[in-house]
Symmetry: C2
Subunit: 427 residues, 2 copies
């Protein structure tokens, strides 16, 4: 796999010493850089500051139906927020519940409802079954995996390809195991690889035979409008595909404005078939009287005022594209020729996925941490935190400044090389 293989032991040792010397120099600096979580930077957050004051008088706190949105009511959200998500995802008003500040909570609660009540009135609550399993395309999003762990749902890893999850594997698994009740998908600009599912993958997901009649696709469309280029990826509409395939209830779609406006104070949406939504609403109506409608209105009015959310997303891209470029150019410059790592080049989303030599990811993350660079924990992108070949590292370039990122990436690349040399010497 690598040039290192052609080096003699003495060459390798000398090379290691050089790298170690460079690394030790960083040790003497006080570095504190964080590339661990997909957080917008302050500059991005500043883009939405006008949203805070967009509602000023009483005419701003009634919705499209003249309902006073300050008061109780409207479990599924104000009409204009439903329309906003509905236009973006081509869903009808009765296919949408607008939620609070966390689509993660919508996903968690959807799994919790399935555990305690089943996916519909006739289905068995998953908690009453001896075993429930989910397919987890890997690498994937650690918080999805945590939900499975919380509810004692066994996770089955399926490898990601350039087109999405390996559908041969997925189809075989769901056709033969009734305990498999779900699959987690981040279908567009996936976390962490930035891959968008191909049309064929989406079609196969909607058409595949599942042994479980209560199988559900958890479609976390978190980065639907988070493009980095002017020629964004296109994703087939899975809700429509499932309708056409005669399984309209198979998919739950989730989205939010967490990385559009403010991560802690956005609005979210749960979208699915009318039947799924009705069932969810019946149970959710016991949990809450509804999400924060004023914040929904605040968002919609702000998007109108700035001339549409697309404009805002271009401003985000203008800030974060140079950061992705910085990461990619450093990787290219420092590692490309050495053949000790590969990485993805996404057209959107929040992450770049880096694969080190096998067995090196943990060591790289630990080396980087020791000089003050925080990366997502090695293994976090796999179920149970265990990367079977210990090579995947998720890079989150958005939060640090360009200058910080340059330094952090130089350190990361050095650590990747150092860990690789250590490994080859040991072999």
């Amino acid at each position: 796999m690598s040039q290192l293989k052609n080096m003699s032991l003495s060459e390798l040792t000398r090379h290691q010493e050089e790298l170690q010397k460079q690394y030790d120099m960083y040790k003497n600096e006080t570095i504190r850089l964080d590339m661990s979580r997909g957080k917008p930077s302050q500059e991005q957050l500043d883009l939405s500051m006008d949203m805070l004051t967009v509602l000023t008088n009483e005419s701003h706190v009634v919705d499209a139906n003249e309902t006073d949105i300050r008061n109780y009511g409207l479990l599924d959200g104000i009409p204009e927020a439903k329309e906003w998500f509905g236009t973006m995802f081509e869903m009808a008003a009765d296919q949408i519940i607008v939620g609070g500040n966390s689509s993660l909570a919508l996903m968690h609660d959807t799994v919790a409802r399935a555990m305690l009540h089943g996916v519909d009135a006739d289905a068995t609550p998953w908690a009453k079954l001896p075993k429930v399993k989910f397919i987890c395309p890997t690498p994937g999003y650690d918080r999805h995996f945590s939900i499975c762990e919380l509810f004692d749902i066994e996770m089955i890893s399926v490898e990601m390809t350039e087109d999405g999850p390996d559908m041969d594997q997925v189809e075989t698994l769901v056709a033969n195991d009734e305990a498999i009740k779900g699959i987690w998908c981040v279908p567009k600009y996936s976390n962490p690889e930035g891959i968008t599912y191909s049309d064929q993958v989406v079609q196969r997901l909607s058409k595949m035979e599942t042994k479980a009649t209560d199988f559900r696709i958890f479609w976390d469309n978190a980065y639907a409008i988070h493009h980095l280029t002017d020629t964004p990826d296109e994703l087939l509409d899975i809700v429509k595909q499932c309708e056409h395939a005669g399984v309209p209830n198979r998919v739950y779609q989730f989205a939010s404005t967490s990385k559009v406006t403010f991560p802690g104070s956005g609005i979210s949406a749960f979208m699915a078939s009318k039947e799924n939504i009705q069932f969810a609403k019946k149970l959710m109506g016991i949990q809450t009287i509804g999400a924060d409608k004023i914040n929904q209105s605040r968002h919609i009015r702000f998007f109108e005022q700035i001339g549409g959310v697309e404009k805002l997303m271009k401003q985000h891209a203008a800030i974060i594209k140079p950061k992705f470029d910085q990461v990619l150019s450093t990787l290219e410059q420092k590692l490309a020729e050495k053949e000790i790592a590969d990485w993805t080049t996404p057209n959107g989303g929040y992450f770049i996925s880096l694969n080190t030599m096998e067995g090196c990811a943990k060591r790289v993350v630990s080396l980087a941490a020791d000089v003050g660079v925080t990366l997502t924990g090695a293994g976090a992108t796999y179920p149970y935190g265990k990367d079977p070949v210990d090579r995947n590292i998720r890079i989150a370039p958005t939060f640090p400044s360009l200058g910080e990122l340059k330094k952090a990436m130089e350190i990361l690349c050095l650590c990747v090389e150092l860990a690789a040399v250590e490994k080859v010497i040991k072999q």
Copy 2:
């Protein structure tokens, strides 16, 4: 019980005809009045309009620790919001989780966690037990009962006295039945009676022997600061009482600003022992990255700006006290001498509890509905929607205007009398 008993059948029939004539006159009007839910009126909502624009610049979106509250993080809330609730309820920062816009959701989720995971790391998840029961002091809050129904928790009614739940009953029940895992309490200005638990009741709740080691008091302190008089009721601090009694983990306390600022857009708090909070946080951290911190900051800054929440609550009282007085004076004037009903006179909260003659509540609600006056459904204040003697009606005076309320109450009193006469004639 009633003067009606002394009337002859012909007198009764004549009286019924007169009442029916009055009632039929209302039938010809187009009346639409709603006294069903505890909703603040528009005038009350207007009191908090300045909150919408209280955060304007970047110095307003960092918390007391200089953390950027627009971004992810702070599962348990911003320090100043914790301090605000902490001061009000005498709780330390590590005993508080500040939640989103719904304390109902905090309660629902707390029950859901107990169902799926138990109340602590060593406890059996309630869903794994053959039977779980809760004590429900009645009349009580219908949404509490709905949570029990949702999770298939059997409800045992215990009668409310003037001091709170009948503690002789409660003590006997919890001492002898291990399946009894909880009790719902609205301890101050209770829903619907407006009763505040006496010190002795609070002490007995904290000291009583429970057969279940994982018994929990759900202390829904929804109306803690919602006084109608200048000499408010005082409630003993149950968290401290449970600490003193050596059962610090027995109680979960809930509160919110739903009826302080905006019902759909308030902030809430879950308060308990440090150990309970730590356990909840561990599980909640999988569900969400945290509640809306900007809205927390918006609240705290607004309360500061207006010179304290007590001032705001006095403004609320100035609006709603005349409505309570209107209800009470109409009841007094129309029904007092007739001895066919009794009612409570609360010092705070959102409700007045009306007891008709036994077997008449459903008929009264139905009669009122037929002329356009919506009341809380008869039976709603009891588990499973079933008032065993069919007499309790919850009156929610806050939402209608004074004029509407006057008319609605005249109609209600007429319906109470009509139903009573009908009943006596039938006997």
